[in-house]
């Protein structure tokens, strides 16, 4: 079993008072809780802090932890020989047990009333980033989780689980899916926990999603914008031809109805969001002599004044 220095995790001295522990936890929870923190490693940091607090806030668990002695973080160690009996740790094997699991099951050996009551398995949430193409077609994702489960003696253990989950077509950014019963197993007839999949869309080279609508930039040359044209643009369902009317301005939205992401539960021909092309007028960075001559001819003869409203 690897040692974890719960005091160091919470930035505390070993002689810290209960009030010091509570204050340190509140400060660190505010800093690292994944629901409020923008720190890149917030979730891992908060898990470590919460684990330390669960043990240090309980005087009995803290006394048991202190009796393990001080070791270097990550150092392999064995609890003293009579430690399990003194602190009602129940039967455990130090080799395959995490320190957090050991303290979670502390007092499990006491045979107290309610020890065999049904206990629900833990729920888990995982982030599932998918591409816009996967959201359009539906996909399967491989999930690897390290689930906490109760063993036949009521002790906790970590069980690696791998499985595939089907993400139906129509998932959008920020949407959540529930996989019932795929969290940790329950104990004594308690229900299995659930797994929640938090869907996010990976950035795409062309498309930007807003719900089931998609937006993309459509670059046009100045003469295409003035004269109008028909161009081919990519969509998640394959390229389509788009008619650009004469006199199109930069920033205008060209709507392609039903070319966005499918709505949930829609079939192949079901309802989709729309795709909007945002016009950008792009000028060439290198101009040939012949082209320059044409531009100069246009400049000399054109009556158009884009700054007429300044006068």
């Amino acid at each position: 079993m690897k040692y974890k220095d719960y005091y160091a995790t919470m930035g505390l001295e070993r002689a810290a008072s209960e009030e010091d522990i509570k204050k340190a936890y509140r400060r660190l929870a505010r800093k690292y809780h994944p629901d409020v923190s923008k720190e890149p490693d917030a979730e891992e940091q908060f898990k470590a802090v919460a684990e330390a607090y669960q043990t240090l806030k309980d005087p009995q668990k803290r006394a048991a932890y202190d009796q393990l002695g001080a070791h270097r973080p990550g150092e392999e160690f064995q609890p003293p020989p009579d430690w399990g009996t003194r602190f009602d740790a129940g039967a455990f094997s130090a080799e395959d047990l995490d320190l957090a699991d050991l303290f979670a099951q502390l007092h499990a050996g006491r045979g107290r009333p309610g020890a065999s009551r049904p206990r629900a398995g833990m729920d888990y949430e995982v982030a599932v980033p998918i591409t816009i193409e996967q959201a359009y077609q539906g996909t399967q994702v491989d999930l690897e989780l390290n689930l906490q489960e109760y063993d036949e003696h009521g002790g906790l253990r970590r069980v690696p689980q791998s499985f595939k989950a089907r993400i139906p077509r129509g998932a959008s950014d920020g949407q959540r899916l529930r996989v019932p019963g795929k969290g940790g197993k329950g104990a004594n007839g308690g229900r299995a926990g659930d797994l929640y999949l938090n869907i996010s869309l990976r950035p795409h080279q062309w498309y930007r999603a807003d719900g089931h609508d998609l937006y993309m930039d459509v670059p046009l040359s100045p003469w295409e914008a003035v004269l109008g044209t028909t161009i081919e643009v990519p969509t998640p369902g394959g390229p389509v031809r788009l008619r650009v009317p004469a006199g199109t301005r930069a920033g205008q939205h060209l709507r392609l109805p039903g070319r966005g992401l499918p709505h949930p539960r829609s079939d192949e021909h079901g309802s989709h969001g729309d795709l909007y092309g945002i016009v950008q007028i792009v000028v060439p960075s290198v101009v040939s002599d012949a082209d320059r001559a044409l531009y100069e001819q246009l400049a000399a003869s054109a009556s158009f004044d884009p700054r007429a409203h300044f006068v």
């Binding site: 791998s162 993400i167 899916l177 529930r178 996989v179 929640y196 807003d210 949930p264 950008q280």
Partner: protein
Amino acid sequence: MRMELSEVVWLEEHDLSLAELAEISGLPIAVLEDLVAAGAIETRPLHGAAGSSPERFGGTAIRTARTAQRWIQDFEIDARGLVLALSLLDRVERLELQLRALRARLPDGRR
């Protein structure tokens, strides 16, 4: 090794009773009732049902209730603080949604 393929359920498709919501979220029924009374958790609109019908909840209620359960456990927050924090979270999420929508409409290089 052949892996089992798990089917998922859209959170929006759920239709739950108060007891089912309590079981899924891990929140006591009394706390859920307080959150419903304060408007922090919305009930599903009942179409044409009698006023005495039991309240039903949609999937978004699972999200809110699970967040509430997490905050009670992790922040040791009381009921009044919880209602305030949940309403602020709702506001932040609505603003983030608007921001994402506006960013999607901006041409590349201006986001």
